[in-house]
């Protein structure tokens, strides 16, 4: 029983960054922007969060700096992809490289270290116990006592589901993805909405980075996002961008990530247990493709899913 609780707890912890980045990516998914830059925005956020927390000695500053880092990366993305009309795939890849190279460079330039930077002066995000949740039977021990960003993320999933499907802004967002000319013709700039979607995704990916470097662990390591931004992209495709579906899929992913960690106490070499989340992603894509083939008329892509959403 104790082991099960431990595994579920680590699932929640591992799911959070993927979910946060995925929620950001939902906006760009509906705006029909191919956002491959989430990995880089997350990494930049993780770095600026550690830098902010270290320099100011406060996790609040760290968190704001992390979101700002993601936002700046998204701003570059938006300026190039939306206003200068460069290819999204190209721009996104360049942002990822800028994230990888820029953080490695800044790590040496600012902190004079290679590989990883840790210091007792980096203040982590506090863990909190929400009074009622801990006493709930069954799920209480699983959900209680995490870094507070975990709860923010869960709340955001519900809030964003509402924002995208139940508000005027959400309707405009989905419309800009589906038919930008129609949006332009009623006097709303689809370019502006797409730029906003990229900025929102940048802030949320930055927050995912904050969680990685100030919540999950308290340090910055080169390339510490380790493919989570790409897994988030896969999860968005798998759930056709539904925030609540994203929540479920991220937990499944988190479970496999946590499974890898728990298997480390066994005889299996650690390198194989670390592969588990990536293999799980491929397996999930396989199941998704099988389901899609059985229903060949099922709608795909942002156009189809927003039709479903409109029901």
């Amino acid at each position: 029983m104790h082991l099960v609780v431990e595994m579920l707890r680590s699932s929640v912890l591992a799911a959070t960054p993927v979910l946060l980045a995925g929620l950001g990516g939902t906006y760009t998914y509906y705006a029909n922007v191919f956002n491959i830059a989430m990995e880089g925005m997350m990494l930049i956020g993780a770095f600026t969060a550690v830098a902010g927390s270290y320099l100011a000695g406060s996790w609040v500053v760290g968190m704001l700096a992390g979101m700002a880092g993601g936002l700046v990366a998204a701003l570059v993305f938006a300026v190039f992809a939306v206003y200068l009309k460069t290819d999204e795939f190209v721009t996104g890849t360049a942002i990822n490289m800028l994230g990888l190279g820029g953080t490695t460079y800044a790590l040496r330039q600012m902190f004079r270290v290679k590989g990883a930077f840790m210091s007792p002066r980096i203040q982590a995000i506090p863990r909190i116990r929400i009074p009622l949740i801990g006493t709930l039977p069954g799920i209480g021990p699983v959900l209680s006592g995490h870094p507070f960003l975990v709860y923010v993320t869960l709340a955001l999933a519900i809030l964003i589901e509402w924002h995208i499907f139940r508000t005027r802004y959400g309707l405009r967002l989905r419309a800009s993805g589906e038919d930008p000319r129609a949006v332009d013709s009623v006097g709303v700039s689809s370019d502006r909405i797409r730029a906003q979607a990229i900025l929102i995704s940048g802030a949320l990916c930055g927050l995912a980075g904050v969680y990685l470097s100030l919540g999950y662990v308290t340090l910055f390591a080169e390339n510490m996002s380790n493919g989570r931004g790409w897994i988030a992209l896969a999860v968005i495709i798998l759930t056709r961008g539904r925030p609540l579906g994203l929540l479920t899929m991220s937990l499944v992913f988190g479970f496999f990530d946590g499974l890898g960690l728990s298997l480390q106490s066994t005889k299996i070499p650690p390198q194989f247990t670390q592969m588990v989340p990536y293999i799980a992603t491929i397996a999930a894509l396989y199941l998704y493709s099988r389901e899609k083939r059985q229903a060949p008329s099922a709608p795909t892509g942002p156009t189809g899913s927003s039709e479903q959403a409109g029901q």
Partner: protein, 362 residues
Amino acid sequence: MSKNALTALAGIGVALLAGLVILWAQGYPAVPSYAALFSYSLFSKFAIVSTLNKATPLILTGLSAAVGFGSNCVNLGQPGQFLIGAMAVAAFGIVCDLPAPVMIPLAIMVALAAGALWAGIAAGLRRRFNMDEFITTLMLNFIADYFTLYLISGPMWDRATYSPMTKATNPGSWLPMWDGLSAAFVVSCVAFVVTWVIWDRSKLGYEWRVMGQNSVFSRVGGCNNEANFTRAMLLSGALAGLAGGMMVMGGMQHRFVKGMGANYAWDGVMIAIVAANGMVPTGLYALFFAAIQTGAMGMELETAVPSEFALVLQAIIVLFVVASRESTRLLINRLAANLRARAAAGAEQDISKGGGRDASGR
């Protein structure tokens, strides 16, 4: 062609200026840093040889990405294919011991085959199950990374060393060096010529390029898109695998060392992007990026700018070159449209004058 070269040069110029501003803003001596960057990469025999050696893997990973993207196969698996190619060559070189004239061609084949195999997994998943290759190749990168890490820290670990690496390969697979220039550079040049011939001068390459521009058109035109997709993926993977193999066969170590992939594969992706998937531009940008990376070492020596600045500079160059290319095209299109509109308006006016009707009625 010259228009493209001009916009590319403008983009590079702006990017280098942006890099200068970054250095200056951080309090480094900006101009001496740039002087060191280029004098250590271009202006001596040793510098040029170092740059050419550095360019060897970049040319190959760049070609790999260009073949993939140009035929609309989003192969982002170069890092994994690179590692698997390197590992296969290392294993082959440890197990087999043959004279060099036999062993070197065999080792090259092994590298090509291993890279193609790893890309083939993603190609097969795409063809049989319609799974997006860009995600599967990305995931396969991590699997290859952990798998090779397992091999070098477990079964294939050379116990005489402290850090994870394999034993050295048998000398038969070592590529010769001439005055510091590794024969690996010659291999990559041969690969470049072969790929260029396939891409720009063969029917197969033509079909791939058409598929990359418009897959519906190529299908209607009678090409077998599915088979072409697999072929392009396999060639793309083989080139990335060869890049890995060259790192084991050339150089000094002659073994698979932890972290040997460095950033070569992603550099190749950036090179292909900035070269717009053309083969000749890919080769030129590979040399240019190699010069930046080689020069960055010298820059660190002279003005203490961390050599990782090369990574930042490369990403900025990609952004600015691509942006200048796209926005000039946009600008030219707009100008052309304006001219055409004016010409059309003029013609309309002529007609209306001829007809004696009032042309100002709009």
